[in-house]
């Protein structure tokens, strides 16, 4: 019964011509019945070359913190009444050799993050020499989440913020790039923030010990 069924299927296939085979794919003749192509051992070995992993799935891959930062928010509301402009602020800090990170611009203020060892010089420059009002928050840690293809991850910001909120942490500042997400939090809360993200994004090792 099985043999008859197989035979009829093969006849039908022959009738239809089986035209999709290229010349080298064409089955070898074996008493009029199509059979599978016979490959030598070397070809078999080539075809059996194992799979190669290529791209990791998008997602947060690591979370860590770095201490020793300060945030300086410079009041620019009265700049127009002086001879200064915002560019002068950046230039004054640069001339003191102060590296700033996470620069953010607002209507009447600019916010800059720097290493705490640069803070005194920055205050001296901004407050003493330029007579600008500054609000300084020191003792901060920069908590960073690294991600693969962050921009393909809709909702990652929401998850990151919700995890911090649930841990009772309200960041002083937030920022992002195509490869990372960062928040500035009080140093005392850095460990908890890293732990919250590790838990939320199921990172190896779980919350930081």
């Amino acid at each position: 019964m099985l043999g008859r069924f197989g035979g009829s299927r093969q006849r039908m296939a022959r009738k239809q011509g089986q035209n999709e085979h290229t010349s080298e794919d064409k089955p070898k003749k074996s008493r009029g019945r199509p059979t599978q192509r016979v490959l030598d051992a070397a070809a078999q070995a080539t075809l059996a070359v194992p799979r190669v992993d290529i791209e990791a799935p998008p997602g947060v891959t690591d979370a860590f913190s770095e201490s020793g930062f300060a945030q300086v928010v410079v009041d620019c509301s009265n700049l127009q009444s002086t001879s200064l402009n915002r560019v002068d602020i950046y230039e004054a800090l640069a001339s003191e050799g102060i590296s700033v990170a996470l620069p953010q611009i607002y209507e009447d203020q600019i916010s800059l993050v720097m290493k705490v060892e640069d803070l005194e010089r920055a205050r001296d420059t901004l407050e003493e020499h330029m007579h600008l009002g500054c609000r300084v928050t020191d003792g901060l840690a920069l908590v960073t989440a690294r991600a693969v293809d962050m921009r393909a991850l809709a909702g990652v910001m929401s998850r990151a913020r919700a995890a911090l909120l649930a841990a009772g942490i309200d960041p002083v500042q937030v920022g992002d790039s195509h490869a990372s997400l960062f928040v500035l939090v009080p140093e005392a809360k850095a460990e908890a923030a890293v732990g919250a993200w590790r838990k939320e994004f199921q990172l190896e090792g779980g919350p930081e010990p």
Partner: protein, 464 residues
């Protein structure tokens, strides 16, 4: 076997002459004793008969009110590359070489199920290697793959890899096949220092680091897909971007060592990029303590709708972010007259406690006013506060890209001065070890990019 992967973009295969030029590149490689594996994009650009966008439009035009499924969209989008691959294989054959055209699935490219933007999970290189051993030139469809077979009786679904996905195919094949190099052929001479449409004297870079090209691609340069750069970087595969039609050496993309600390005080700028079509939302609420809850609510709403946000910033009383301009209206719809309760608490026998934050989106007053009227009924019980939402509709991000990571103190100041001199207003700033970016209005993009290119790229001789 000395394998080389050669990828040809749409403009390299859109006419018989162009295909012949491309086929000659393959033939030359073969004659040099290399084993080429060719990756091909769809023929031409939007509007041309087999271009990806044209095929997609054809499907959507069946009935604009009935959205095609992502699976079917991928199936039709994959057709463009299949057509150009078979035609390209035939073109190479006319030069006397034996070829075999392969779809992504036939080439062993396995992806995840993210239709429209799938990632290459793995590659089974066996069949391509077998074809090469037979002396054939495999011509592989770029931009597509196939999902894993859910069961032995089911086939995987055809998926596409997103914009610039053929570069990703080439880079991934380069790694899986142990290729000596991956060559990306295009209609420009290599990686340019700026968009030549904006900067007429943009020049071709001889060498650029993996990190820099990845940063450039993420920040608007279209010459190479960032995922292609990242795969090549992870596995140290040299990439070369060059013209199909010219004799130039193009640009070598490779790893470059970090600069010695003594030189790291100046950012080694290699390019100025621009990423257009951005809208910028700014939210203001007057009670600092409540901002975190409001922010969280907004991010959740947008995340649920798969809307990406970036250039995120906040102060005590405001927060802001950017979105692609294509989703601006959707974001406005979601936020228009939205009510976010904060600290809501109902105490038995006493009045409720908490506040309601009502969103007022600039330029949209009708729903807001109606909602405000309704909320007046709760005034005796709950305080209603307004979140003022303004939208800078038409913006772009312009960026300076460094060759290697640096922490140069003065770069921000120089960028600010450059923008100031060019009369460009910076709406927001962002920096990373590889770049400095600023958000500007679209009408100022050209001036901004030219100024950055002039002050940073032309004024310096980058290390190459």
């Amino acid at each position: 076997m000395k394998i080389i992967v050669q990828k040809f973009g749409g403009t390299s295969v859109d006419t018989a002459d162009h295909r012949l030029s491309a086929a000659r590149r393959v033939s030359e490689a073969k004659d040099r004793g290399l084993s080429p594996v060719v990756v091909v994009s769809a023929i031409g650009r939007a509007g041309e008969p087999y271009a990806t966008d044209t095929l997609l439009e054809e499907l959507r035009d069946v009935d604009p009110l009935v959205a095609p499924s992502p699976r079917e969209q991928d199936l039709i989008m994959a057709c463009g590359e299949i057509i150009s691959t078979v035609i390209m294989a035939q073109a190479i054959k006319t030069l006397g070489h034996e070829t075999i055209a392969l779809t992504g699935g036939q080439a062993g490219i396995i992806t995840d199920y993210s239709f429209g933007n799938a990632r290459i999970v793995s590659i089974e290189p066996g069949y391509i290697l077998y074809c090469l051993e037979q002396g054939k030139i495999p011509v592989v469809t770029g931009f597509q793959g196939v999902t894993e077979r859910p069961s032995p009786r089911m086939h995987g679904a055809i998926t596409t890899l997103g914009r610039g996905g053929s570069d990703t195919t080439a880079s991934a094949l380069g790694y899986a096949l142990g290729a000596r190099a991956v060559e990306i052929y295009t209609d420009v001479d290599g990686v340019l220092t700026a968009d030549p449409k904006l900067v007429s004297n943009a020049r071709t870079l001889e060498t650029v680091s993996y990190h820099a090209i990845s940063e450039m691609s993420h920040l608007g340069a279209t010459v190479l897909n960032p995922r292609a750069a990242e795969i090549a970087m992870e596995h140290s595969i040299p990439l070369r971007v060059k013209s199909t039609f010219g004799d130039g050496e193009g640009t070598l993309i490779t790893s470059l060592p970090r600069r010695p600390a003594a030189e790291a005080d100046e950012m080694d700028i290699v390019a100025a990029t621009n990423s257009p079509q951005v809208s910028y939302f700014v939210f203001r609420a007057d009670r600092p303590g409540d901002l975190a809850v409001i922010e969280d609510e907004i991010y959740t709403i947008l995340g649920d709708q798969h809307i990406n946000i970036y250039l995120v910033s906040r102060t005590e009383t405001s927060f802001a972010f950017a979105v692609r301009r294509t989703v601006r209206s959707q974001v406005e719809e979601l936020l228009d007259a939205l009510v976010v309760p904060v600290g809501l608490e109902r105490r038995p026998g006493k009045t409720a406690r908490g506040r309601l934050y009502l969103f007022e989106v600039e330029g949209r007053t009708r729903t807001f006013e109606a909602q405000r009227e309704l909320l007046k009924k709760t005034d005796a019980l709950l305080e209603t506060r307004i979140v003022k939402t303004s939208v800078e509709d038409n913006c772009a991000i312009v960026s300076l890209i460094a060759q290697t990571e640096t922490t140069a103190p003065g770069i921000l100041a120089q960028l600010a001065r450059s923008m100031d001199r060019a009369g460009v207003q910076m709406l927001q700033l962002a920096n990373s070890p590889m770049s400095v970016s600023c958000l500007v209005r679209s009408q100022e993009v050209e001036r901004a990019v030219r100024a950055l290119h002039c002050d940073f790229v032309e004024a310096r001789q980058p290390r190459e």
